[in-house]
């Protein structure tokens, strides 16, 4: 396995995303800082509404028309947020591939999958349609799509969920991008199929030195694949760090709470300990730390000052009550 190199491939700084909705605005992403290196698998973890999908969509300019983004997203030093449409189109599918959660609705129902993959190829490479379709079949074989040649003429509704997701992966990797953004790629799939897709991602990552941004709310998925974990809460990073550190020595109370709430095979009789309370509604701009209301370690100052990201060992943590006593976090596990 190649070590992630040190030059950042994707750098997100102070990203803000706001949506206009009935009755006001939703501040979905509030100052996100995130870095992905070449060949690195970065997991972005959070509950629904934490802003993880929105931040990645913002990077590619794929947000809906009622959204506005501000801040900086740089790919190899090139600013994407203010890029010209033609530049963005070159990046999409070319240097950054993206796959989405529900492969059924994410594929055009009236086009054969071979054509949809070929379309990805033709958009970025100067090849004839015939060559593109041949390449499409190759790509399907690469993602272990059975009987690729014949079944490439199928329509999306004729395939199973796992097959469709493979098609999406093939499409996203058609032009050998540097990064693959996978937005909840396994959430809509059966557990066994999940494992297959994750295996596929793992092998692709190795064979192509691909960086992957894995957006998910499922920590189990993270453990098997990620190098780095970025935990998001209420539109910001709560904690970022190497996967081992996150899992064994979580620093942020939210991370600790997440891990503690996981059911565990090796302790079948213990009660599940969820995190009390509910995530904040993002209409409001809370003062201080957004996790404070639910935090077991919160103190007075937490509700007044927004915590900034601090370095703790290999991780970045946004908590004012650091360092947490090691014994406390271990007891929480």
């Amino acid at each position: 396995m190649s070590q992630p190199s040190t030059t950042p491939l994707l750098e997100i700084r102070d990203l803000h995303v706001r949506f206009a909705v009935r009755g006001g605005q939703v501040h979905a992403v509030r100052g996100l800082d995130l870095t992905v290196h070449r060949g690195e698998v970065a997991a972005v973890v959070g509950e629904s509404g934490s802003g993880k999908s929105a931040s990645m969509l913002a990077a590619l300019g794929l947000l809906e028309v009622n959204a506005a983004a501000a801040g900086s997203v740089r790919l190899d030093g090139v600013e994407l947020l203010r890029a010209a449409p033609s530049v963005l189109r070159g990046v999409r599918g070319g240097r950054i591939g993206m796959i989405f959660q529900d492969p059924m609705t994410s594929l055009n129902p009236v086009l054969e999958i071979r054509r949809q993959i070929a379309e990805a190829v033709i958009t970025h490479q100067h090849v004839s349609p015939r060559q593109a379709e041949a390449k499409a079949v190759e790509l399907l074989e690469m993602v272990s799509f059975p009987d690729a040649e014949r079944r490439s003429r199928s329509y999306p509704h004729e395939l199973s969920g796992g097959m469709r997701q493979r098609v999406m992966i093939a499409m996203a990797l058609a032009n050998d991008p540097d990064i693959l953004i996978a937005d909840e790629p396994t959430t809509a799939l059966d557990v066994t199929v999940q494992a297959q897709i994750l295996d596929l991602l793992r092998s692709l990552r190795q064979s192509r030195d691909l960086a992957i941004v894995l957006i998910t709310h499922d920590l189990g998925v993270v453990a098997g694949l990620a190098d780095t974990v970025h935990v998001m809460y209420a539109g910001r990073i709560a904690e970022s760090g190497p996967v081992v550190d996150i899992f064994h020595r979580p620093q942020h109370p939210y991370t600790a709470g997440l891990l503690a709430s996981l059911p565990r095979l090796d302790r079948p009789d213990t009660e599940l300990t969820p995190i009390g309370g509910v995530p904040p509604r993002l209409y409001e701009e809370p003062a201080g730390c957004s996790f404070a209301p639910r935090c077991l370690y919160a103190v007075e100052s937490c509700t007044q000052m927004e915590p900034i990201l601090q370095r703790v060992n290999e991780s970045l943590v946004a908590c004012s009550v650091l360092p947490l006593a090691t014994s406390t976090t271990e007891a929480a596990r």
Binding site: L60, L62, E64, R89, G90, V91, R92, G93, G94, G97, M98, F100, D102, T105, S106, L107, N108, P109, V110, L111, E119, A120, T123, H124, Y155, H157, E158, M168, M171, A172
Partner: protein, 326 residues
């Protein structure tokens, strides 16, 4: 289906026999009504003998032979009249479908892309106008402005005044004049088609554009559109290859219905533009109580409508892969 056919046929029959006015008056004239022999002869000739059920059976029998009776007014077999006038109506309808279809899709797509902006409101207003005005009035206004006042278009009628029609091969003046090699006539006939086809197609265009707009707006927020953009596709291609290709499916559903409306409007358009089609035939028949003709036209209309609906079903099955492969 066959039941429906029978029903249509029966209804047509019932309507034509419901006429309280005595059709014999139109046939033999007032004075001869007292002459028993003339009346008897007329009755036999025109199938008015016997009780109603008997007449019905005769009617069905003739129908199966393709005989729709003879028109009181033209003294020709109704079938012959209808076939003779069919090409004119078809020319008109085809042109209207073309103009309305292309215009409707283009307008709808444009309105969808400029949603909520003035252009959107204007195009929706345009289609609203089309469905809030009687077709014949629109035709009159067009004739008045574009022909009488501005002289941009020729007046009503399939042919320029005092011109002979081309040799009758297909009945379509446009095709026939081409076959004759008469390019001037071809151009003139084609040009005379423009206004009536536009008038006829306007309401259809309005409906279609609204449907296309709604369908496109539906599709444009779909996930697969997002995927297409994520592949780096130019927006123009996204619209054409993905959005439109899915959006046009629902438009098929109004095809059958629109056809009925087109038939309806053709009656009026033909009257205004002095077009010798089935529509004007129907009007003349209704006004002169020519009930074999009324019957014949009603049957024709019902059957045409049935055919249109069948075609729509078939087209739908072909277009949607989910249905096609099921």
């Amino acid at each position: 289906m066959p039941l429906l056919l029978l029903g249509i046929v029966t209804i047509a029959f019932c309507i034509s026999r419901l006429i309280p006015a005595n059709p014999l008056v139109a046939i033999v004239g007032e004075r001869s009504l007292n002459n028993a022999k003339v009346v008897a002869a007329a009755k036999t000739r025109w199938g008015l003998n016997g009780s109603l059920p008997e007449q019905y059976l005769v009617y069905i029998k003739n129908l199966l032979k393709g005989d729709l009776g003879t028109s009181f007014r033209t003294r020709q077999p109704v079938t012959h009249d209808l076939l003779h006038r069919l090409p004119a109506t078809l020319e008109l309808t085809a042109g209207a479908l073309l103009i309305g279809g292309v215009g409707g899709v283009a307008l709808g797509a444009y309105a969808a892309s400029k949603k909520d902006k003035p252009a959107d409101h204007i195009s929706r207003g345009f289609s609203l106008l089309g469905s809030s005005l009687p077709v014949f009035w629109i035709g009159l206004v067009f004739l008045f402005v574009l022909y009488a006042r501005l002289g941009w278009f020729p007046g009503p009628g399939r042919l320029p005044p005092r011109t002979k029609p081309p040799d009758d091969v297909t009945g379509f003046y446009t095709i026939d004049s081409l076959l004759d090699g008469n390019f001037t006539l071809f151009r003139q006939c084609l040009w005379r088609l423009v206004m009536p086809c536009f008038v006829l197609g306007w309401a259809y265009m309005g409906q279609l554009s609204r449907l296309v707009r709604a369908a496109m707006l539906d599709e444009i927020n779909s996930d697969y559109v997002r995927t297409a953009r994520a592949k780096g596709l130019a927006e123009r291609l996204v619209i054409r290859r993905h959005v439109l290709r899915n959006a046009w499916l629902p438009t098929l559903t109004i095809l059958g219905f629109s056809f009925a409306q087109l038939l309806t409007a053709s009656v009026l358009t033909e009257t205004i533009f002095q077009w010798n089609g089935i529509g004007s035939y129907a009007v003349q028949a209704a006004n002169t109580l020519d009930f074999p003709a009324v019957n014949g036209v009603s049957l024709f209309a019902g059957l045409a409508f049935l055919l249109a609906n069948l075609t729509t079903d078939v087209l739908y099955a072909v277009a949607d892969p989910k249905i096609r492969l099921a």
